[in-house]
């Protein structure tokens, strides 16, 4: 019983923190229909920026926001390489991902930055609530609701955005460039907006995970795009292709399930070294299963 409880708590804690990654990957992988490898660099960039700033004593909220902005800048660079230099979007992502490896090392000045003694957004929120007379511990029981509230806010913002004039244009850009161009939309700009939004969310995920795990590591982004894509596809396999709201919800559910599967795999004796193989198998399954039209709710 205690084991199941620990598994469930771990699932929600890690799931909600990784869910921002899912939202980011959803934008590029599903709405723009290409796997944006910038994620492999912007995720650790988020961790690196937040770690470097926290160590310097910057306020956790400001540091997390800066990490998110850094991710957006990375996305803008990928978009510029793709649109202005007319380089294939996947190649553009690979170029930025590769460059970010060095950038991340420079930002952190080392391969791993521990954050055990620095404040975090979670700790600060708990402290603020306790200042109002509550008596909350700073552990996963408080991290889960804090992460949930942040995630809900992010999801609502994203759904709202994709229903605005600009958001609709961004979505249409990923689906039918010829059409949206002939409606007078500068697709270079909408691509930039989409990639900035996507990588901002992905970097935010990296920044939150780093604070939660107590360190930022240069290798934390390896395989992250595959994990995000697997999660998005798991959600899609369950809920199918519906409105933007459902897509966002499905991506979050997908990430949480992905975390559960990973945790379960570790419980049954697989080691952390096996995780990438598990992730690859999960992605493959999520791609293959819908072809057999297995839909749980539909």
């Amino acid at each position: 019983m205690a084991q199941i409880q620990a598994l469930a708590l771990n699932m929600f804690e890690q799931g909600f923190l990784f869910a921002f990654l899912g939202l980011g990957v959803l934008i590029t992988f599903r709405f723009f229909r290409f796997p944006d490898l910038t994620a492999e660099g912007s995720y650790p960039l988020g961790g690196a920026v937040v770690a470097a700033l926290l160590v310097k004593g910057v306020d956790p909220f400001a540091a997390t926001l800066a990490a998110m902005l850094a991710g957006s800048v990375a996305g803008v660079i990928t978009a510029l390489i793709h649109t202005k230099l007319r380089i294939n979007n996947i190649i553009a992502g690979i170029i930025v991902m590769t460059a970010l490896y060095t950038v991340n090392l420079r930002v952190m000045e080392k391969a791993n930055t521990p954050l055990l003694d620095t404040p975090t957004v979670f700790g600060d929120v708990v402290a603020a609530l306790n200042g109002l007379g509550l008596d909350l511990p700073d552990n996963r029981l408080t991290t889960i609701p804090i992460a949930f509230v942040m995630l809900a806010a992010a999801s609502v913002t994203l759904v709202w955005f994709f229903r605005t004039d600009l958001g609709l244009a961004v979505r249409a850009t990923g689906q039918n460039e010829a059409m949206i161009l002939s409606l007078g939309v500068d697709i270079d700009k909408t691509k930039m907006v989409g990639l900035a939004l996507s990588n901002g969310f992905i970097a935010l995920s990296g920044a939150l995970v780093a604070q939660n795990h107590g360190f930022a590591d240069i290798g934390m982004g390896i395989g992250i795009l595959v994990a995000g894509a697997a999660a998005v596809l798991i959600g899609e396999a369950i809920f199918g292709d519906r409105t933007v709201g459902w897509w966002v919800f499905a991506a979050i559910v997908g990430i949480v399930i992905y975390q559960l599967l990973v945790a379960a795999a570790l419980r049954v004796g697989l080691s952390a070294n096996d995780l990438k193989l598990i992730t690859a198998v999960l992605l493959l399954s999520a791609l293959a299963i819908p072809r057999f039209r297995v839909r749980i709710f539909r």
């Binding site: 955005f161 229903r163 605005t164 004039d165 600009l166 958001g167 609709l168 244009a169 979505r171 249409a172 689906q175 039918n176 010829a178 059409m179 949206i180 161009l181 002939s182 409606l183 007078g184 939309v185 500068d186 697709i187 292709d241």
Partner: protein, 267 residues
């Protein structure tokens, strides 16, 4: 002032290779405001390239394109699209399959205007879309939330037509917009085209393979062959045209190579 002018426009494909094609060969054309021009010609005559050059999808190698007195030869597609609506042959190209009818119309309504963080589909917008869709008689006014991808080709071209004209375009480019439709649907969409063009007094270029349509609709007819305009009839001369007369013109132009040209003509 002419609404649209092409001055010695030349467009090559595969330039400098053994496969070089001169898709447009020093084309000169003046289209007056409100002209409805039907364009016919065999495959490879340059009709589509003509429309693509005006839309900005094919940048001419030589010559100038002037729209409402403004040189648009090298203007990006999205900028000139503010006043130019275009419908392609494939319904998949002119509408966005995964978005709903109302979302597509909302995107089209903002043609050429700044797209900010205002709500895309508004209640007022829905009322406008319903009012625009109801007279068409396809029942689409009751299905605003339906994804366009689930509709038939005819329904999609109908919506494409509405999207091209909903926001004050002044030039309408129709690139065989009826080609993928069955004859009955094509007739309905053509009638709607005629009505919208007349109501909004749109300057229109319409490519068609249907000679009857070309004769029946519009006030001017162009025939293209090998990248050039070889026949241009307007007003009374156009009204007097018959299908046999046009077929004879084709024969004359292609100098007996009609079989090679694979002319797809519906008399």
């Amino acid at each position: 002032m002419s609404a649209l002018a092409l001055r010695a426009v030349t467009k090559f494909f595969f330039r400098g290779t053994p496969n070089e094609v001169r898709a447009l060969d020093r084309v000169d054309l003046e289209v007056a405001e409100g002209d409805f021009v039907a364009v016919i010609g065999s495959n490879g005559a340059g009709k589509s390239t003509l429309i693509k050059a005006v839309a900005g999808l094919a940048v001419p190698d030589e010559g100038k394109i002037v729209f409402e007195g403004r040189d648009i030869t090298r203007e990006p597609v999205y900028r000139r699209a503010a006043a130019i609506g275009r419908i392609a042959q494939d319904p998949g190209e002119s509408t966005c399959a995964i978005l709903t009818i109302e979302e597509n119309l909302a995107l089209a309504e903002k043609r050429g205007r700044r797209r900010g963080l205002g709500r895309g589909v508004t209640e007022a917008g829905r009322a406008r879309y319903r009012a625009a869709l109801a007279p068409i008689g396809l029942g689409l006014e009751g299905r605003l939330g339906t994804r366009i991808g689930t509709l038939s080709g005819g329904q999609r071209q109908t919506l494409a037509l509405l999207m091209a004209t909903i926001s004050g375009s002044r030039l309408l480019l129709l690139d065989e917009h009826l080609a993928n439709l069955d004859p009955k649907t094509a007739e309905i969409v053509m009638a709607l085209t005629g009505r919208l063009v007349a109501e909004q007094r749109l300057t229109t270029l319409m490519i068609t393979h249907n000679m009857q349509d070309a004769i029946r609709w519009g006030n001017r007819l162009l025939m293209m062959h090998a990248g050039r305009i070889i026949f241009d009839a307007a007003g009374a001369a156009k009204a007097a045209l018959t299908v046999p007369a046009l077929v004879a013109k084709f024969h004359e132009a292609s100098q007996g190579n009609l079989t090679e040209d694979r002319v797809l003509l519906t008399p």
